[in-house]
């Protein structure tokens, strides 16, 4: 039996098919959890995020259509937005997040890591080609979800330049990543 596409599974989920939701879960558990952990830096919170994402999916609160691009991209965006909600709430309640370094990083086998290993390697290489400030701005904006004001403070730059810097850093990253995908040279480090 051929494997169902994400969209086919999603359509089944919309019709209340529990096994389809379970298949989506199995397909994305590790990626979504790793991403949620990267953003929240807390395993309990990351699990709460995953639970919330799948409740949205199941309760049809998150609506996907093929016009929105790839299902995986949409699911990751829903996950990011849910992470941002949890990060904000955690700050509001002053819940102490665990120090990332104090956690056991992972107990996954190499095989488990393989699903997005190649993309990650290319992205990491591309990221390392960015200037340190650009790497920092990507992290503060995308993974930490900070406001413009906070990013300006953290980077010591004028508020009015934050958006432009983020955009530029992301553009450079994309270019380097594409170059890596083509197998070409990365070019010099941006400074």
């Amino acid at each position: 039996m051929s494997k169902l596409t994400d969209f086919e599974l999603y359509t089944k989920v919309q019709n209340g098919d529990k096994s389809a939701l379970e298949q989506i879960y199995d397909r994305y558990e590790k990626l979504l959890f790793s991403f949620a952990f990267r953003m929240t830096q807390n395993k309990d919170t990351a699990e709460d995020v995953i639970q919330e994402v799948f409740i949205k999916l199941w309760r049809k609160k998150g609506v996907y259509s093929e016009e929105k691009g790839k299902f995986s991209s949409w699911l990751l965006t829903v996950t990011r937005n849910t992470c941002l909600d949890f990060i904000r709430k955690a700050k509001g309640n002053e819940v102490e997040l665990e120090d990332r370094d104090s956690l056991v990083k992972d107990e996954m086998s190499v095989e488990d890591q393989i699903t997005w290993k190649e993309e990650r390697q290319k992205l990491k290489s591309a990221m390392h080609l960015l200037a340190d400030e650009q790497q920092k701005v990507v992290d503060l904006f995308y993974f930490k979800g900070m406001s413009q004001q906070k990013i300006a403070e953290e980077c010591g730059i004028p508020l009015g330049t934050v958006k432009g810097r983020i955009r530029l850093a992301l553009k450079h990253l994309k270019e380097k990543y594409k170059a890596a995908e083509r197998g070409g040279t990365y070019g010099p480090k941006n400074v």
Binding site: I55, D106, Y142, K174
Partner: protein
């Protein structure tokens, strides 16, 4: 175009806006092609970034916890339409999993008025004092065990500063390490934390919780779950006690 609005894209993408601000910004983008293009471009540029995440191993048992909560969230919703106990509902593949609401339906639901009237009849001497207390009790229920031998009561009590939830339990299984019991108030598919406790050596545990969640709430049920830590923002462990409110 409002130049101030054009500077709000980052706040929009990172969710630093309330609902009104978000709607205003979306309305602005409809009139400002530059902002719309910029937003689309940024979203496109962000697509691959999740793959930068280092692989992290999901906690043991996460799949079962997540999926059972997800599917139970549906049952809570559907149970709202049920007026009286129906223990013969069709079983499903997930029926045997921990179940937030259906257990309530089978459980004996003891409302405060009957129970308190009985108490009054037992003690005429303190009738006046009891009446005063009874008048403050909004609702009281017996908590039904869910695959456990535990028992307990939950009462909503109107205090001077507002509503309190008082939960008393007995015959609770001892906790290990960081584990704790967490009380939840359930409204529709949402679960609100309502106190944490660790039972004593005899298995007794009590929680008095100020129910001061903002806004109007129509609580459907109260539950006690056995959690891996006292910090769960949403239930992760198994439900040991549950009753409809």
């Amino acid at each position: 175009m409002d130049p101030k609005m054009c500077d709000q894209l980052i706040e929009y993408l990172n969710g630093h806006m309330n609902d009104t601000e978000k709607m205003e910004f979306e309305a602005h983008m409809e009139e400002c092609p530059d902002c719309l293009d910029e937003c689309k471009e940024m979203q496109e540029l962000m697509t691959d970034l999740p793959y930068l995440s280092e692989p992290a191993a999901p906690p043991e048992g996460m799949k079962e916890r997540v999926l059972s909560t997800v599917f139970d969230s549906e049952e809570i919703e559907s149970s709202k339409a049920i007026n009286k106990p129906d223990t013969e509902r069709k079983s499903s593949a997930y029926r045997s999993r921990r179940n937030w609401i259906s257990g309530v339906l089978a459980a004996g639901l003891v409302l405060s008025l009957g129970a308190n009237a009985y108490l009054l009849a037992q003690n005429n001497e303190k009738q006046q004092a009891l009446e005063e207390k009874v008048s403050q009790t909004y609702v009281s229920v017996n908590l039904a065990p869910q695959d456990s031998k535990s028992s307990g009561t939950a009462s909503m009590v109107k205090g001077k500063k507002g509503m309190n939830l008082v939960v008393q339990t007995k015959d609770m299984v001892p906790v290990k390490g960081k584990e704790a019991y967490q009380v939840w108030l359930i409204e529709g598919e949402k679960k609100f934390r309502a106190g944490t406790f660790v039972p004593d050596k005899k298995g007794n545990g009590t929680v008095v919780f100020d129910v001061d969640y903002p806004g109007e709430h129509n609580w459907d049920a109260v539950a006690v779950s056995h959690e891996p830590t006292a910090k769960s923002e949403q239930p992760k462990g198994s439900i040991v006690l549950l009753s409809k409110l």
